[in-house]
Amino acid sequence: MRRGILLIAMLSVPAAALALEDEPIEALQAVEEIPDHLLLDVGIRVFDTGIPADDEHAKYLLEEKGVFEEIRKSEARWIPMNLKRALESTGYWGAVRLVPAEASVDVMVEGAIASSTGKKLEIDVIAYDATGRRWLSRSYEREADPVAYIPNATVEPFQSLYNRIANDLLKEKNDLDPEDFAEIRRVSELKFASALAPSAFEGYLAEKKGRYSPSRLPAEGDPMMIRVASIRERDHMFVDTLNEYYADLYAKMEGPYRGWRSNSYDEQLALEELKRASLWRMLAGGAAIFGGVMASREGGGWSNAGQIAILGGMAAVMDGLDKQAQTAMHREALKELAGSFDSEAQEILFDVEGEVLRLKGSVDTQYARWREILRDLFAAETGIAVDPNQAVTPPSR
């Protein structure tokens, strides 16, 4: 009996702990307008799906567990969009954008999805600024807010997780000195400039152990810097347009994704309940059988109480086995749900990502032309010969 009580206590402790841990988290909001010099632009990259791209066997194994590639790809865009909105809503940041991998921004946030179901989200996040200072590197895990799955609810199930990341980033930002802001922005500008016109901005940035600092600054009214600033403005326009495509993806995905997550949440809850019940019955049944056998042996023969305990225990074990069979059914249902949404997600993703790739292709061509023109302008203005291959393969922009 004691064992039973202990077991019940063990099974119920995590639930209580979760309840405490899962208090809603609000994103800290700016109470007054933040001055421009204390604002930093944030770039969020599309997250890593957490699915190995070229390993078909691994993909198959994950699909068996209900983890589908196209859903993850969509989530790899969905989650950063939510984080972007959480950050924007605080008023503590400059422009917050989803950016291409090669972008040069003040603060960059990257992430990878470790686990994502309708019930739980687990992501690994790192954040660093243009100077290379590491802001964050940690895992975030959160159970869905059940209120989000009530019909007509307008709450994002994992809003608290996004708010928590926003708060952690704010904490790091608040630890900066006022001069750090200027340096981060300057390095970010110079990184962009040296990627676009390497010959003109060679030696402007110093790098030591992965940390960047300006070693010298362009003169006031430097014509090359003015040109770069003009191109950077366009770069922001391009990234804003990309973000509109991602917003399009978000809008198209929202309905079906919410539906899938809601169903997945219900199935997941039922599955966990069955697992718990099955385990409990198997353990209780096993204990009853063991107790029955012991009681019979102590009595020197098969006592009635012992026989009853054994029979009861066997019934409990059978029930546990039956529950195990039911969990398999729920797992299959989860897999089917995911498989069905996967096709839908694929269609949405192909549509939007096709446009994104087309736009990026056109823009990359423009960048190649700009690099070439700026290289030639630098040579024409300074008389310094430039390696013609230099502008072709830039490190980043």
Partner: protein, 238 residues
């Protein structure tokens, strides 16, 4: 030339052996001092040309940069149009199935969407408050920016042409007002044409005027307005 036409064995032989008729060689030798003078003069003038070429090259590069920047602006404008068309198409699709989607999606935006009023406006049509549109079954565009009124279900969405206000003078083309001073756009290149089309389609009068300014700057910055009746650059080229 007449002498060459006659069969002269000396000329033929010299042409065969030396590669040029002796007479021509003789003529070349007699002209040598003059050629040297010309070469010296050319040498002097080539230095001048080199200076000009560097200047010209620089100017050419500046023009090229300006042109690529304008092309990029046109590219982004075109993308905005594509996005707009996608939204209109999605809005139309939503109009048919608005009520249907209301049930599926659990209606609506995330908790963050409450804050979208502020952030959404600055991001243009970026916010995805489509959930809200679906929630109410209005059939509005999923990308209806937060804070903007959502068109009611079945209500036909206004096309850019229909909404164009026609105040002031100017030619009306395809339902869009074209300022008189920009000409008819017959000799537009691809960038100018894109800018012109973007300006013609723009509904916001302020933005439209900016687009026309950009069009003017691009087109007449390179070339004089056609009012002078001078032949255009293209026409003068062989």
């Amino acid at each position: 030339m007449k002498r060459l036409r006659r069969f002269d064995p000396v000329i033929v032989l010299s042409t065969f052996l030396v590669g040029a008729p002796l007479t021509a060689l003789a003529a070349t030798q007699s002209q040598e001092p003059e050629t040297k003078k010309e070469e010296e003069e050319e040498g002097k003038s080539s230095e001048m040309t080199a200076v000009e070429t560097t200047e010209e090259k620089r100017e050419g590069l500046h023009r090229k940069l300006d042109k690529t920047l304008s092309e990029f602006d046109a590219l982004i404008l075109r993308e905005q149009e594509i996005l707009e068309q996608r939204r209109e198409a999605a809005g139309a699709a939503g109009g048919g199935a608005g009520a249907g989607t209301a049930g599926v999606a659990g209606e609506g935006g995330s908790g963050v969407e409450a804050a979208e009023g502020e952030s959404g406006e600055e991001a243009g049509g970026e916010t995805a408050s489509g959930g809200k549109a679906n929630t109410e079954g209005t059939g509005g565009s999923p990308d209806q920016p937060a804070g903007e009124p959502i068109p009611s279900s079945g209500e036909p969405t206004e096309s850019p042409g229909e909404s164009d206000e026609n105040e002031g003078g100017g030619e009306v083309s395809n339902g869009h007002r074209v300022p008189e001073d920009v000409g008819n756009g017959e000799d537009d290149d691809i960038v100018a044409r894109q800018l012109r089309e973007a300006a013609m389609r723009e509904e916001d009068p302020e933005l439209r005027e900016k687009l026309w300014d950009e069009y003017r700057a691009y087109k007449f910055g390179q070339k004089k307005p056609t009012k002078t009746n001078e032949p255009s650059e293209k026409e003068t080229k062989p």
